[in-house]
């Protein structure tokens, strides 16, 4: 058995195109996941019971079922109910961001709860509403604290996004399968795919480490 470097090299452009798609799904899902997670995370500690319960159900359901099953639910099961054909791209983004939102919600909840109660009291005693205090005082401080766990979540999501290959969506993993179907180069292609994933996750973790360092040295800004 020999490693065919020529094949690996020739396949790179196609695989990299898949990697671009993976980055796109991940970036979009991360952005939406942060928005979802922020609201769900705040809802988890709401003083209104029903909101708290709904948020807990959301988090439990999405963390308690496999992402793969969630993808199937959205791509195959949902159209049965709605009668509308699901675009693979929409289904991929939706399942990844809804799933990630649940993990991000827990990250934000912990981050918000780690902020000293005196901050909320100071904000409220100045006449600011709960929402204003959350927005200007609590969340900006919590954001800094959650950068490391958020970074881990993004890395996890980038890897998990390979699951959307099952609905035929041509991200990196799916591209790999397609190239192999033509070239039979299992060894070369899967090694290349793994290395591309590795390069992307290392880049993210370096970036997160940089953000963390920057936050420590210039501990400011809101």
């Amino acid at each position: 058995m020999e490693f065919n470097f020529d094949l690996a090299l020739r396949s790179m452009p196609l695989l990299l195109m898949g990697a671009v798609v993976t980055v796109k799904i991940t970036a979009l899902s991360v952005a939406l996941g942060i928005v979802i997670g922020l609201f769900v995370g705040i809802a988890r500690i709401s003083s209104i019971r029903i909101i708290r319960i709904l948020a807990a159900i959301y988090v439990d359901f999405l963390r308690g079922t496999p992402l793969l099953v969630q993808i199937f639910l959205i791509y195959f099961a949902l159209p049965v109910v709605t009668g509308i054909h699901m675009d693979p791209f929409i289904a991929a983004i939706a399942s990844c961001s809804i799933n990630s939102g649940a993990y991000v919600a827990e990250i934000f909840r912990a981050g918000i709860q780690s902020i000293d109660e005196g901050q909320m009291e100071a904000g409220r005693s100045l006449g600011m509403t709960w929402a204003q205090t959350m927005r200007y005082i609590i969340v900006p401080q919590a954001f800094k604290r959650v950068i490391p766990p958020l970074g881990n979540e993004f890395i996890a999501l980038l890897k998990d996004s390979s699951l959307v290959s099952v609905i035929g969506f041509e991200e990196l993993t799916r591209r790999g399968q397609l190239v192999i179907a033509r070239t039979y180069g299992s060894l070369e292609i899967w090694v290349c795919v793994a290395l591309i994933y590795l390069a992307m996750t290392i880049t993210i973790s370096r970036f997160v480490a940089y953000l963390e360092r920057r936050n420590k040295t210039v501990d400011n800004r809101d």
């Binding site: 005196g118 009291e121 005693s125 100045l126 006449g127 509403t129 204003q132 401080q141 400011n220």
Partner: protein, 240 residues
Amino acid sequence: MIIEIKGLKKAFGDNEVLHGVDLSVKEKEVVVIIGPSGSGKSTLLRCINYLEKPTGGSVTVDGINLDSDANINKVREEVGMVFQRFNLFPHMTVLKNITLAPMKVKHIAQDEAEEMARKLLERVGLKDKIDAYPEQLSGGQQQRVAIARALAMKPKIMLFDEPTSALDPEMVKEVLNVMKALAEGGMTMVVVTHEMGFAREVGDRVLFVDDGMIVEQGTPDDVFNHPKESRTKTFLSQIL
């Protein structure tokens, strides 16, 4: 009466910590609250701006009865509070700490709010710290910024909850001086403190609180030099 408290009760679960407190505070009056740890001093103070929600009785501030959400925010605009642990916003400069609430709550323009912040910082002697972050300041400086921050809302009443007890001894004075100047300027103040010197010099009235009740009250001279209740005598003998 700018503060009118009647039959105020507060319980945490089954534990009632205020058992029906009556207290009226006149405009420009400086009321000092003393009492042992756990007696309910902070709770009483925090009921005045509804940081704690009373479980019985009524609290009226400047004619506003504290019962609905809207009233509560209105009262909080008029009642400044200074905490033992400063509670400055660590992610904002001194300037932003002071201007945030006036801009967000009262919708004051930024340059106007900043102008006011400069004046307030001058008043508390921290003009040169305007761009500093809280962690770059000493405890005494942080507490003076906290006072300036509260004053920026132009409150009619200021509440102080042991404002100097987290400070190193050498910084106590600078904070008390700011508070004294505030009192001399005619601010209505309710101050929980163990600084007896301040209570004597600045206080119009001293309340001794024990076990969730006002046990004794009067002028500083009455309470400190001629206490009537045995509990007051015991407490004073321990701290003086």
